[in-house]
Amino acid sequence: DVKVTQSSRYLVKRTGEKVFLECVQDMDHENMFWYRQDPGLGLRLIYFSYDVKMKEKGDIPEGYSVSREKKERFSLILESASTNQTSMYLCASHVSGTPNTEAFFGQGTRLTVV
């Protein structure tokens, strides 16, 4: 059974903290994605990675960075957490070069910044 695993289901962090959200996939996929999900806004792409050490900005990268040191792991970093980053964060992975196939999602990390 294919899996995308996000390290935490729920996180509570303080304003100004550096926050790491971890995502691991076991499908040997080249492409990995971080989305943010907010009510009424759907899923918005923060960053994506086409391969190890490669990254590209998505639609809302401000306040975030990413790291992809190994193929199976894609980390989202909030450099200095703010209350407007309180949200559900979803990681996804996808086989490279196959836009007609399924993207696989993790269960999400609900982050609250206080």
Partner: protein, 114 residues
């Protein structure tokens, strides 16, 4: 660039009634179309997709969607819903020409009531 519009943020319906969730898209290039479903406290999973050929596509749990090129729509329907269909449904598109970036709509919350 692509965009997806889901006009209905919430759709309440009684069990065994029919339902239609609307999706319209805009794109200057050809796209693949998807419906993803998110059950409570879970990540997204693929429900069905349109790639080419027959404009009517079906899922294993009784949902169907019809691609209408002239109206740029991909509405999701089910003739008789069940309580277990309560979930959030996302319409998404991606370019056929490469890259796996999905553009999502804002989602429709389907609530099935007894």
């Amino acid at each position: 660039a692509q965009s997806v519009t889901q006009l209905d943020s919430q759709v309440p319906v009684f069990e065994e009634a029919p339902v239609e969730l609307r999706c319209n898209y805009s794109s200057s290039v050809s796209v693949y179309l998807f419906w993803y479903v998110q059950y409570p406290n879970q990540g997204l999973q693929l429900l069905l997709k349109y790639l080419s050929g027959s404009t009517l596509v079906e899922s294993i749990n009784g949902f169907e969607a019809e691609f209408n090129k002239s109206q740029t729509s991909f509405h999701l329907r089910k003739p008789s819903v069940h309580i277990s269909d309560t979930a959030e449904y996302f319409c998404a598109v991606t370019r056929t020409g490469g890259g796996n970036k999905l553009t999502f709509g804002t989602g429709t919350q389907l609530k099935v009531e007894l």
